[in-house]
Symmetry: C2
Subunit: 366 residues, 2 copies
């Protein structure tokens, strides 16, 4: 079970330039790549020995190892992952399930995952669900069935459908940005409630009393938690919740724009807007400008996430930062630990948010 030994590195050399280097018959068609049998024959040892040498087994005579390694190199050998996986039970692949690729929130997490994985021998197989329910289950099933050794789920929806299965199979997985009610999964989260609370309080402390809220998808826990943070900040400061100040959203710029339009069409428009995520905040900024209102002079706006665009819009968006890259990183670390040790216990890791004050908030105008 514990096959954590790093496999000896095989350096693949592409015979550059000089065309007719190949010693073998070069049949211009797609010829087979060399297998361990070819190496065995060439090196005059058994294929078992080749396999053991290549997979880093320690009890191989130095001279044998050298011979095998050099002929592997000479032949341009590359291991066949499928075969290795079938026989050995590990695929060296980890599955990553993301909702889509159009939100930098996802991209940043992916970046963190990628970065944390570069040191390892794992590669990632990427599944996008694009919020199509049911897809996630299919993917999860496929992944469990040898397609990957572990699974990272980013903000999954409807995860109940397959989490049980994953757990039953004792399949290694980590949830990112998703609560696990029963705390039986390893999950990486940020403190959305507190982040939203602090963001809202910041607005309140600036003097705002009329604070609109651009909601997110209610199926997503983080959206719900942020809303709760917003509400409790208002409550703690004795500011009544106004229904007309809460507009629905779905995390996109477009719907953020529409939500802000709704807010700005109100008789008594808010002096500040809390957007559930940066993307919708960007849409809101557009709507605000269309109404010839200045940010932050006439109306303040704060987002959530701190995607790269937030630092680059004008005025720069103040936002509640969640450590996206780090989340991806932590998730990989947990998964790797679990992969090495099947008994690695499930953990709930909660990361801090951070209020990033830039230029989009000011004291209320009137």
């Amino acid at each position: 079970m514990d096959k954590s030994q790093p496999i000896c590195y095989i350096v693949i050399v592409f015979t550059s330039a000089c065309k007719k280097v190949n010693t073998m018959a070069d049949s211009s068609k797609n010829k087979k790549l060399p297998t361990i049998y070819d190496i065995a024959e060439e090196a005059g040892v058994s294929y078992s020995t080749v396999s053991r040498t290549l997979s880093g087994f320690e009890f191989v005579k130095a001279s044998t190892r050298e011979k095998v390694l050099s002929t592997a190199k000479k032949l341009g050998y590359v291991p066949n992952q499928q075969a290795r996986s079938l026989a050995g039970g590990v695929s060296d692949l980890i599955g990553v399930l993301v909702p889509g690729l159009t939100n930098d929130y996802v991209t940043q997490i992916l970046h963190g995952i990628d970065g944390a994985l570069t040191e390892s021998d794992y590669n990632v197989i990427l599944y996008t669900t694009n919020r199509r329910q049911g897809k996630e289950s299919t993917y999860a099933a496929r992944i469990m069935n040898g397609a990957a050794d572990g699974l990272l789920l980013v903000a999954p929806i409807m995860s109940d459908l397959y989490l049980d299965t994953l757990r039953q199979q004792n399949f290694p997985y980590v949830l990112i940005d998703q609560v696990d009610q029963e705390q039986r999964s390893t999950v990486i989260n940020t403190d959305n409630r507190r982040g939203a609370y602090e963001g809202t309080r910041y607005l309140i402390e600036l003097g705002h009393r009329k604070i609109g809220f651009l909601a997110g998808l209610t199926q997503i826990n983080s959206a719900v938690e942020r809303f709760e943070g917003y509400k409790s900040a208002l409550a703690d400061h004795n500011i009544p919740l106004r229904d007309e100040y809460i507009v629905p959203g779905d995390f996109t710029t477009q719907v953020g724009y529409e939500g802000a339009q709704a807010l700005l069409a109100l008789e008594d428009i808010p002096t500040a807007i809390f957007a559930t995520n940066d993307l919708s905040a960007l849409g809101a900024m557009d709507a605000i400008r269309e109404h010839d209102l200045r940010i932050p002079k006439d109306i303040s706006i704060i987002g959530f996430d701190d995607i790269p665009a937030a630092a680059v819009v004008y005025p720069k968006l103040s936002t509640v930062r969640q450590p996206l890259v780090q989340m991806g990183h932590e998730a990989v670390m947990e998964l790797l630990a679990r992969l090495e040790n099947p008994d690695h216990e499930a953990r709930q890791i909660m990361l801090e948010t951070q209020l990033v004050i830039r230029d989009s908030c000011d004291v209320p105008c009137k």
Copy 2:
């Protein structure tokens, strides 16, 4: 880079015994998933028949098929891709090689790839090279060796090293944003030279004569082509090329910022800046603002790519749009065609750029 966030708290949970849900023997350990043998036994047919039925073979008696299908469903059968791949020679995976995940240029192409692939049965295995030479070769080798059925290369560097091998093996691949000098590969490109020409001409027609150029990585063809487009536009309008107006870059926001600083430190500063890509344009905008110069009143700026952020910064960035999503889409279409028909000939597809005029350019002030 930014993993400075401390962990808030970690809760360790002792997983209590699970409930008895499974109808099958539930051995609390990870039991094997059903294979075709299990189905065969249960359905009372040979495993060959099961395999044939499951893989869509047509000559199976309807009643047999139904029986097999229903028991497969009942058992919760999921095919093992590795085995299928080993035996059948296809992995249903396509490899995607990208430089990194921090530029939306890449993300958008990925999105296009993903979208085009959703209809198919292929999944993507993602490799990031992060500009580390050599990595690409390793990945390409691995991919060729059964890890995937085809390969998509996004703006690859040093591709000569392995393109030959790919071709020798007659392995299906498509290049995105990369020239193939000898036109033996299928490649999807946009007309960088012309795009840059038009962007520059636009600036010239506004009245600019002093146009700075924020260059890109010179190893990247598209960067070179854009520079050429810039130069020929100047030449065609009898505007001498000024060395001090050309500053090096690497496609990042940070270096775009630095490049613009250099330009703004000049005695005779440019009245407009052409940035090789949007990300560096965004950096330049920051630098410009730091100098208390207004965009576009005091200085105009135009980018290249039209990443989502371009439409969202303020002022909105005028840019030369390349159809990123479409590029990914086309690449998949070509690859799929090649996968279905090994004789599908290599094509060079050149997509048009489009000048997107927004708010960052105006006539020169003085």
